[in-house]
């Protein structure tokens, strides 16, 4: 699994949706787009910044929402490196419909009761549903049985809301690199597990980070839910991806 991405300094040119952009070899299409203010949706890949405390970008490649067409072939933008003269299609009806379908699948797979969720209004999954104008998923709800774990003094872990993106698995580790979260089983029984011993002793900083990087409301820092009033939440007024320049890069990256 490519977890971190190293870049070099050689500059190349490619186009995304007809716009010619510069990128560095070794960068992924997603990173290049992000630096150039082009929005490609993600639920698993995450750009490192001060706020989320990541040391480097992560790209688990699990959600597939960032699927783009590269020279005609569909690829995940978060794991595909740029190359000279690539022609990338991103914001097209076809691709946005694929993305909408994936969002719908995630909504019916878990138990996403938005009205009762602490993350509502700041949830990336919900925000993508707004962006792609999902009114009701075309698929049947599974109402699957998922466990809630509230054992940890700091964290509430609600698997009903988990979309198995693996951000927590990759990003939340002990100082010597041991995982606090893991992926269990496979197929329709897949899930995220916590190392309860390690999570019990999680630092305040890490607990906040875990909640912050979780794209949905599966990891909640106890006592921090519903902190932001309606009207001031992340996606109350503008759709996800409507910033013209990536808020995390902010042109800082050279």
């Amino acid at each position: 699994m490519s977890e971190t991405i190293e870049t070099s300094s050689e500059t190349i040119t490619l186009t995304i949706d007809g716009q010619e952009i510069q990128a560095k070899t070794g960068q992924t299409i997603l990173q290049a787009a992000c630096e150039n203010g082009i929005y490609i949706p993600t639920l698993c890949a995450l750009h490192a910044d001060k706020e989320n405390g990541l040391k480097s970008d992560i790209a688990p490649g699990t959600c597939r929402i960032c699927t783009v067409r590269v020279n005609g072939r569909t690829m995940a933008a978060c794991t595909t490196p740029v190359a000279q003269d690539y022609i990338v299609e991103n914001d097209t009806e076809e691709l946005n419909d694929l993305r909408k379908t994936i969002v719908e699948l995630l909504f019916v797979e878990g138990n996403h009761f938005c009205p009762s969720c602490e993350k509502s209004g700041s949830c990336d999954l919900q925000a993508l549903a707004y962006r792609y104008q999902m009114l009701s998923p075309r698929f049947r709800y599974a109402f699957s049985s998922r466990e809630v774990n509230a054992e940890s003094p700091k964290l509430l872990f609600d698997r009903n809301r988990c979309i198995l993106c693996r951000r927590c698995v990759l990003a939340i580790t002990t100082e010597d690199g041991k995982q606090l979260f893991g992926f269990t089983k496979r197929g329709d029984k897949s899930g995220i597990i916590m190392d309860e011993e390690l999570v019990k002793n999680i630092s305040e900083e890490q607990a906040q980070q875990a909640m912050h990087i979780c794209p949905v409301g599966a990891i909640i820092r106890k006592e921090k839910g519903f902190d932001t009033p309606f009207g001031q939440r992340k996606y109350d007024h503008n759709p996800i991806g409507s910033e013209t320049v990536c808020t995390t890069c902010n042109g800082e990256k050279s």
Partner: protein, 613 residues
């Protein structure tokens, strides 16, 4: 207890406490303890330097590893497509009844565990099962009951096997195998099952340059036999050119596609040819490390394969300065799998061989650039490597004169299902489905499943379809489905298979497979709608375009193929277009009524009854 800890510790130590050998460690622990408990996971975490979560990830991924005991005798009854056509249900019921435990459970005394598993590569001799890694074939309800009795009486599995059925033909009766498995070679072709003398190809190879070897493989136009048909020479060249201090060759013997069993026979009868092929590949690309990834279901062949390797080392066909060529060093180890279909995908296989969950990797990098433990790696199908050895022995022209323009050489097919002569057929590419059906003695076929669930479900119009890369490409599984079967029940079996075998990592595959399965089930129960048919198509497209690996790309095939080739089956099940959905109201109030002690029917039903009065 401390003895117990020491035993686990010994197993890990045997593999140098190397986290890369975690899968081997876990397989041995499972064999000894009948499970890998949470405590053991914690102990191993300490010992190999990983977190509990990290090891748990691996344990929970594989079908043959478990966190709770699976019984002194663990029965894995195969519920693959051919098995369900040939009486799986009755055999399962007999096991369950005789043992006194339901499927997926262990008897109270802990003696017998009864589980199901996807196809174990015995489609030509169903019903088949593994009991403590020993293969039992041609099971019937009577035989199942007899086996349970043997287990209750404490017979060894080997004794049970001997009592049950005589040893199979060919090498199956060698002491190192001693298995009841039959080869069922119905037609031996000239390449993989043709005349062969051990060592000739490899010795010829050692007298030439690696470039010469590559150019012969290129001239033969050999393509990968796993189904995708990638040009073999090109793959080898990529690896040869890749940067890296060491290179690796892996033979993919994880044939998990239901209905496929050709590698089983090649491994039994042509192991040397395969290993020669690997060594030749190693010579061509400059590799020193070799690995045979053997599916867990074929553990019964392991001892034999180790013996063959040992003999080849003794004969200077493996090891140092192979065939007298200074600097031609290459050796092979056998890596066991532990029950996972997706590990047949090359990058997932590498993850698994490194002791992790068998999840496909994000690409690039491709295995030829960075494969097993970051070494540039060639991964080829067993049949591809065996063919390569024959090409070096008998020449590229000899090979490319067989088959078709695009698909040279032969293909080893596994034919099973409703036919008189199930088994192995090595035929030239270009043969038609019709010819195959006649050769195997097909009985009143309704459908032909080419390439297993991930392949193509063809109808009676497909007799002229050609088996080739330009025609109908596959790894060689042909399942003949007679008219007496409910085809959609078999498709349901396929979708259940994919739902279980998806690694779960990529969203559209994980949720797409079960959504397709659930929707199909609803349709089969007469509760489907036209919108369901549309949404299954849309979802299939999304899976093909967005999933990470071949499993997700091909998992919709059973649904798409049957919607295209057998539309009447769906039409017959969709209720007349109606705005009122089919919903069983009486069934849905049953549980709550029972809970409160009420017996009356729903209000709607009562009102209707009153009206009639």
């Amino acid at each position: 207890m401390s003895e117990h800890i020491a035993a686990i510790s010994d197993i890990a130590a045997k593999y140098d406490n190397d986290p890369n050998r975690l899968l081997d460690i876990l397989i041995d622990v499972q064999a000894q303890e009948r499970c890998v408990t949470d405590d053991v996971t914690r102990q191993l975490a300490q010992q190999v330097g990983l977190s509990w979560a990290d090891i748990h990830q691996t344990v929970s991924f594989y079908h043959f590893l478990s966190e709770t005991p699976r019984g002194e005798y663990t029965i894995y009854l195969n519920n693959g497509p051919v098995a369900i056509m040939q009486g799986y249900e009755e055999v399962a019921a007999a096991f369950s009844e005789a043992a006194g435990c339901s499927i997926d459970s262990v008897t109270e005394d802990g003696r017998i565990g009864l589980f199901v598993t996807a196809d174990i590569g015995m489609g030509d001799q169903e019903i088949a099962a593994l009991i403590n890694r020993v293969v039992f074939t041609c099971l019937t309800p009577e035989k199942a009951r007899a086996l349970v009795k043997d287990m209750q009486e404490g017979l060894s599995v080997q004794d049970m096997a001997r009592k049950h059925r005589e040893y199979g033909d060919g090498n199956n009766s060698l002491p190192a195998i001693h298995s009841m498995v039959r080869n069922n070679i119905q037609k031996a072709g000239p390449v993989c099952l043709g005349p062969y003398e051990v060592g000739v190809a490899l010795r010829k190879c050692a007298t030439q340059s690696p470039e010469d070897i590559l150019s012969q493989i290129k001239a033969s136009k050999l393509r990968g036999r796993g189904g995708a048909g990638f040009p073999t020479a090109m793959k080898w060249e990529f690896c040869a050119k890749a940067q890296g201090p060491e290179r690796c060759v892996v033979a993919n013997a994880d044939e998990g596609e239901p209905g496929t069993f050709k590698d089983r026979v090649l491994l039994t009868e042509r192991a040397e040819l395969l290993f020669e092929g690997m060594a030749i590949c190693a010579y061509a690309v400059g590799a020193t490390t070799g690995s045979l990834y053997l599916r867990g279901e074929y553990t019964y062949l392991r001892e034999y394969l180790e013996q063959v390797l040992e003999q080849m080392r003794a004969d200077n066909l493996l090891g140092k300065d192979i065939a007298g060529k200074a600097g031609f060093d290459f050796d092979i180890r056998v890596q066991l799998g532990a029950g996972s279909y997706v590990c047949g995908e090359e990058s997932a296989l590498l993850e698994s061989a490194e002791g992790k969950r068998g999840e496909p990797r994000n690409r690039p990098p491709f295995p030829a650039q960075s494969g097993y433990r970051a070494m540039p790696t060639v991964i080829d199908n067993v049949e591809t490597l065996a063919s390569a050895a024959q090409i070096i022995d008998k020449g590229a022209d000899w090979f490319s004169n067989m088959g078709t323009e695009e698909s040279t050489g032969t293909k080893v097919l596994s034919i099973s299902g409703d036919c008189d002569r199930p088994g192995i057929y090595e035929v030239e590419f270009g043969i038609t489905i019709g010819e195959l059906l006649d050769m195997a003695g097909a009985r009143d076929p309704q459908a032909v499943q080419v390439g297993g669930p991930s392949g193509h479900c063809l109808n009676a119009d497909a007799r002229d379809t050609m088996i080739s890369f330009e025609g109908c490409s596959s790894a060689g599984a042909i399942i003949i489905i007679g008219k007496q079967h409910d085809l959609l029940a078999i498709i349901d079996n396929f979708m259940e298979f994919f739902t279980d075998e998806s690694c779960g990592s990529c969203g559209p595959c994980r949720s797409g497979t079960w959504m397709l399965r659930n929707t199909l089930r609803r349709i089969r129960q007469g509760q489907g709608t036209r919108e369901d048919l549309t949404s299954m198509r849309q979802l299939s497209e999304v899976m093909k375009k967005t999933t990470k690996c071949g499993l997700g790309h091909t998992a919709p095939h059973p649904i798409l193929n049957t919607m295209d080739n057998f539309p009447h089956l769906y039409e017959a099940l969709i209720p007349e277009q109606s705005d009122i959905r089919v919903f069983d109201l009486e069934a849905s109030i049953k549980a709550a009524n029972a809970a409160v002690g009420r017996t009356s029917a729903s209000k709607e039903t009562r009102e209707k009854e009153e009206e009639q009065l």
